[in-house]
């Protein structure tokens, strides 16, 4: 296992990048701690896979360095870096048995057959496929194949990190739950350094201790799931995390109050230096629907089973609120904002609030 330092890394797929826009990955300077579970989260084209491939060595960065445990590995090949990677579509050697698939990386490295056998059996137990050892890999289901891809990484005791590139894309919803929790258990038990690329917020948030939110080739925010939920640094994070995303509306701030059209909203504190375009962000979970507060007109109620999403207009703007499974929309609906959930943004970046 290793600590991974990404040292001022930038990457462009063009031969002579000139301007900022030429870079698929703008400057990333970050340390992935030994034994940490990280997710790189963002929409397609945000540079998350580029960053992952730079770490794995499938891509050589145009600028910057990469260190594993302090050792410069920028110019080392993928094999020499000794990492494991699980891809979006399961990669299995389908002419081999499950057992031989797992033994493959070890045999390639000339590990004695006795050790191979011991490690493969251990790994088969870990990924819950012991009874499948002698079966041909081709007949397996997608989730089993993906476990084998993972197993080929786990079987090498000395891997520096395990990287995942949207590994659950082709897995049915039910199996996603099973695989995800197994992955997390493996992490807890064996302390691998794991980096997981996805566009799916649920996968990112449930898997990772630290989520790296990326947008347009750069990192927007790095934080725990709770931080990203409660205090999004940028309105993009507010939008991208949460389902539905954060409500963002332009306001005028004066001291500890914000004016939304004709409505006065009390803030938990006075925002510091809120200049430029000022917006108020509040997650639907913190919008309270009831008989007092600001009048809204409800346009739609989506019953998603465990809760309902109320779509409404407040001062002519779309707003979403989440209410409980058994709650109903009152006759003259009004909303209040829970001060704990209010964030103020200036030019899309969050501003701290004073007392």
């Amino acid at each position: 296992m290793a600590r991974i330092d990404v040292n001022h890394v930038r990457h462009s797929y063009l031969p002579n990048p000139q301007k900022e826009a030429d870079f698929a990955l703008r400057e990333v300077h970050h340390t992935f701690e030994d034994g940490g579970a990280y997710a790189l989260l963002g929409p397609s084209g945000c540079g998350k896979t580029t960053l992952l491939n730079i770490i794995s060595g499938l891509l050589h960065p145009s600028h910057g360095k990469l260190l594993f445990n302090g050792r410069d590995v920028t110019n080392l090949s993928t094999q020499e870096r000794n990492i494991a990677q699980v891809f979006q579509f399961p990669v299995i050697y389908d002419t081999m048995t499950v057992y031989d698939n797992l033994a493959f990386p070890l045999r390639n490295r000339g590990v004695p057959e006795a050790d191979v056998d011991r490690k493969v059996r251990e790994t088969l137990e870990m990924i819950d496929l012991a009874s499948w050892a002698r079966k041909k890999a081709r007949g397996l289901t997608a989730d089993q194949k993906q476990k084998i891809s993972l197993g080929r990484g786990l079987v090498r005791s000395d891997v520096n990190a395990i990287l995942f590139d949207e590994p659950l894309t082709v897995i049915d919803p039910h199996m996603k739950w099973v695989l995800r929790s197994q992955l997390k258990q493996l992490h807890r038990r064996f302390g691998y350094t794991m980096v997981y690329v996805t566009h799916d917020q649920t996968e990112a948030l449930t898997f990772a201790d630290q989520v790296v939110v990326m947008y347009d080739g750069g990192i927007v925010q790095i934080g725990t799931p709770a931080e990203l939920f409660e205090r999004p640094r940028h309105t993009f994070v507010g939008y991208f995390i949460g389902s539905p995303g954060m409500n963002v509306m332009p306001v005028a701030v004066e001291g500890k109050t914000a004016m939304l059209g004709s409505q006065r909203i009390e803030l938990p504190g006075a925002p510091k230096a809120a200049s430029g375009a000022v917006e108020l962000g509040i997650r639907p979970e913190y919008v309270r629907l009831g008989r007092d507060g600001m009048a809204v007109s409800v346009s739609k109620v989506e019953d998603v089973g465990r809760h309902k999403v109320v779509r409404a207009k407040l001062e002519g703007r779309d707003i979403a609120a989440v209410i409980g499974e058994d709650e109903t929309v009152p006759a003259e609906p009004k909303v209040r904002f829970d001060p704990a959930g209010i964030n103020i943004y200036a030019d899309s970046w969050r501003v701290e609030m004073g007392a």
């Binding site: 499938l58 990677q85 891809f87 979006q88 389908d94």
Partner: protein
Amino acid sequence: MDKTWNNKAWFLVLPVLVLVAFTAVIPLMTVVNYSVQDTFGNNVFTWAGTEWFEELLSSSRFWEAMVRNLIFSFIILAIEVPLGIFIALNMPKKGWGVPVCLVLMSLPLLIPWNVVGTIWQVFGRSDIGLMGYYLNAIGIDYNYVQDPFDAWVTIIIMDVWHWTSLVVLLCYAGLVSIPDAFYQAAKIDGASRWAVFRYIQLPKMQRVLLIAVLLRFMDSFMIYTEPFVVTGGGPGNSTTFLSIDLVKTALGQFDLGPAAAMSLVYFLIILLLSWVFYTVMTNYDAER
């Protein structure tokens, strides 16, 4: 309930059925008819029964030609398949080189058989041919008109030159369908070049290889035009394949009865061998 649909469908395939009837079924019936009768092409027929078949199967000339065919097919498969795979593996997978290579590879396939034969006939001539002349100039005694070995070498090289491209193109199609992730995973697993070939590329090419082998086998077993043009079956009978023998019998000697029997047997042999080939290879595929 789905009558209308089906009637339409039959109507659409009717032209093909008519065409097949004229080009295959009716000639085949004629051949069957000829094979059990004696005639000299003067419309006088006498019943011969299985006489021609008996004669054919006991003639050494037939069996020799047959063995020649088998050896020839075996040799060209043994050369063209590995060579085709090798070239396909080394062809560029992206960039401007792809169309260039594809066009170059397709060129031999576009040339008609008799032209290929003529090209090689001239090319190999020891008096004026580019290859033949220079081979003799550097001291190699090469003359396909006199030496059976040289004749065989010429026909084999010609066939390899003509048809390896087909194997290359089929294999290439199989190779480019392999997603990048497989190669990346193999790198991470520390796989050698050979292991990548053995466990990723070969399995992905298996299906197209089956088709390539089958096509090349059937084609080479039926080879006629090129050796006919180049060597005319000679020197002696050294390059007389079944097809050439058949034409000699039918058109050279106007022995329509024996020729019909021979072509039927020939047809059945090809059918049988192709079927065996196909079953063996698909079973192998299914097992794995």
